[in-house]
């Protein structure tokens, strides 16, 4: 069976590379949020929200590790959800009595930008790596490799003798007679 496939010089496509970049970004941001949440809250005028920042940091670490793993797709969707959460949290800092309101706005713009990249990468990764949910399933019921129905092939290679060093059962001959068990000294 031949199927046309686009040839690529590397198995890594742009989406895979972007996901990797986002993974490192996630790790960096996560470490920062975990290590110095005060730095973040102070610059946003949102003192008191340190616990939230730490939680976001932990989440970034997780999605970062995931995005750098073998299968980054779920982590990238995780980042998209995380971006939405972050935007909601930031929005609470937009109140007119926050003197750092402009910083909050700038942060929201950055998160929005990242969210866009995350979403695009997540979509591209899904297309590249995930089996379509209701995709076509090939029928390989004719691919037996046998000249006759499989049932008729049972034991066709019984001329083969298990080599001595691979015997694991009782050798390949017929099963031996059951070993008698003597229950008492008077048993014969």
């Amino acid at each position: 069976m031949n199927h046309p496939h686009t040839s690529a010089t590397s198995s890594l496509a742009t989406a895979d590379r972007v996901a990797r970049g986002l993974g490192y970004f996630s790790l960096g941001l996560g470490l920062l949020e975990l290590a110095s949440p005060r730095l973040v809250t102070r610059s946003l005028g949102m003192e008191g929200a340190e616990a939230l920042v730490r939680a976001a940091g932990a989440r970034e670490l997780l999605t970062g590790l995931g995005a750098l793993g073998v299968n980054p797709t779920p982590a990238l969707w995780g980042r998209v959800a995380g971006d939405a959460l972050d935007l909601a949290t930031l929005a609470s800092g937009l109140s007119p009595d926050n003197p750092k309101r402009d910083n909050v706005k700038a942060a929201m713009a950055v998160v929005l930008g990242t969210a866009l990249v995350d979403a695009m990468a997540a979509r591209a990764l899904s297309e590249r790596h995930v089996r379509p949910r209701h995709g076509y399933i090939a029928d390989y019921s004719q691919c037996s490799g046998f000249p006759r129905p499989a049932a008729a092939m049972r034991g066709e290679a019984s001329d083969f003798e298990t080599p001595a060093d691979m015997r694991a059962d009782i050798g390949s001959g017929p099963r031996p007679a059951p070993v008698p068990i003597r229950l008492s000294d008077t048993d014969q």
């Binding site: 995931g66 995930v130 046998f146 298990t162 080599p163």
Partner: protein, 389 residues
């Protein structure tokens, strides 16, 4: 020449690399006519096996025509058509003389590295980690074959590449996995994994006369191919593997269990799989032994576990108490390919089996990088990819 090269996790490239040349009088150079991507290549692609280096040429399933031989090569001549076993064998050491070719004592040129990793080095392998010699592989236009006199299988022109290519790995691998179960006509054999290796396990178990062959996976087209070969199938996404196996064996468990999955086992709705994934992500565990755990648990006491599936390092939470108390026999190993190939070639010639059934994709070598993805991600109903340089 052109070749598929490893450049890190998820990164296989179609590169231009220097042509191989004779380095030792016992070498031969083979011009590759067909090669394939194996599940073992996926462990390298996913970077679960240590000891890979940037630019390593991939591939250990290949065949072709001998185009050059070293001065001490006696049994091969230019023009011979050969399949090359993935385990390189000297043919003379103590292990080779016993037929334990995959632990040949001489073919691993990085013996010190292998000794350090595994206690004692194992045979040299093509296109694999530097722990096994770091020999350039066969997903390329040309390959240098060390110990060429003993590391080849001559194949007749009457058979196509597709019919004999898998003599280099997956057919003997499935065969040995079943042989070391020492099949009895009363046996139920449970095979985890319906990938190419699992498929050959199914066929081998049928040919060797098992009463009942069961194959477990979750990829529908793979299960349908396993059924075509005579297996009862279990979809582990849909049903409980343990319950079904108990049912099929009247509560006694299968006598023989085969792990044709290896260290990247998936699991559905199971606690242990989440545990493994978390530990693997933070590098506290290298391998995910879900299938091993399941086999140890479900196997009939005094039964046999056969593990062709590849493991690379450390596993965690293995129920060794069950293994010990049930008196199970555990058999493992890279395949002693050359030990089985004469017999298997005869079976192909006699028409007992045609190994080409497993091929779903045939493309040019330049499409190799993309086919790694298609094969690993189980896209496009892919089961086995053959590449033509």
């Amino acid at each position: 020449m052109k070749a598929l090269c490893w450049h890190g996790k998820n990164d296989i490239r179609y590169d231009t690399v220097p042509d191989p040349s004779i380095e030792d009088a016992r070498d031969a150079i083979v011009k590759v006519s067909s090669c394939a991507i194996c599940g073992s290549d996926l462990h390298l692609y996913d970077h679960f096996i240590p000891g890979m280096e940037h630019g390593d040429v991939m591939g250990h399933e290949f065949m072709g025509e001998v185009v050059e031989v070293g001065a001490d090569t006696k049994r091969l001549k230019v023009g011979d058509r050969v399949v090359v076993p993935f385990t390189i064998v000297c043919g003379e050491c103590e292990q080779c003389r016993r037929g334990n070719f995959s632990v040949c004592e001489r073919s691993n040129r990085n013996k010190a590295l292998g000794d350090k990793a595994f206690g004692h080095a194992t045979a040299g392998l093509f296109g694999y980690t530097h722990l096994t010699g770091g020999y350039a592989g066969g997903q390329a236009e040309y390959v240098r074959v060390p110990f060429a006199d003993t590391t080849h299988v001559k194949v007749p022109d009457s058979l196509s590449d597709e019919q004999v290519l898998f003599l280099g790995d997956i057919f003997p691998t499935g065969w040995q996995a079943v042989v070391q179960c020492d099949i009895q006509p009363t046996d139920t054999v449970a095979i985890w994994g319906a990938g190419p290796v699992g498929q050959f396990c199914v066929r081998s178990a049928v040919l060797l006369g098992a009463r009942q062959v069961v194959c477990i996976d979750r990829v529908p087209e793979r299960l349908s191919m396993a059924a075509a070969g005579g297996a009862i199938t279990i979809d582990f996404d849909e049903e409980s593997v343990l319950e079904r196996l108990e049912e099929l064996t009247h509560g006694k468990g299968p006598e023989k269990c085969i792990d044709a999955v290896g260290l990247e086992a998936h699991a559905t709705r199971s606690l242990d799989s989440m545990y493994d994934r978390a530990k693997q992500a933070v590098m506290l565990e290298t391998d995910r032994p879900h299938v091993l755990r399941e086999m140890i648990y479900v196997c009939r006491p005094a039964g046999v576990l056969s593990v062709p599936g590849v493991y690379g390092g450390l596993v965690d939470k293995l129920p060794f108490g069950a293994l010990m108390n049930k008196g199970l026999t555990l058999r493992t190993g890279q395949t002693h390919v050359r030990r089985w190939t004469d017999d298997l070639l005869r079976r192909i010639e006699e028409g007992q089996i045609d190994p080409s059934f497993v091929i779903t994709h045939t493309v040019g070598l330049e499409q190799g990088p993309d086919m790694y993805r298609v094969f690993r991600d189980k896209l496009d109903n892919c089961i086995k990819v053959v590449l033509k340089p």
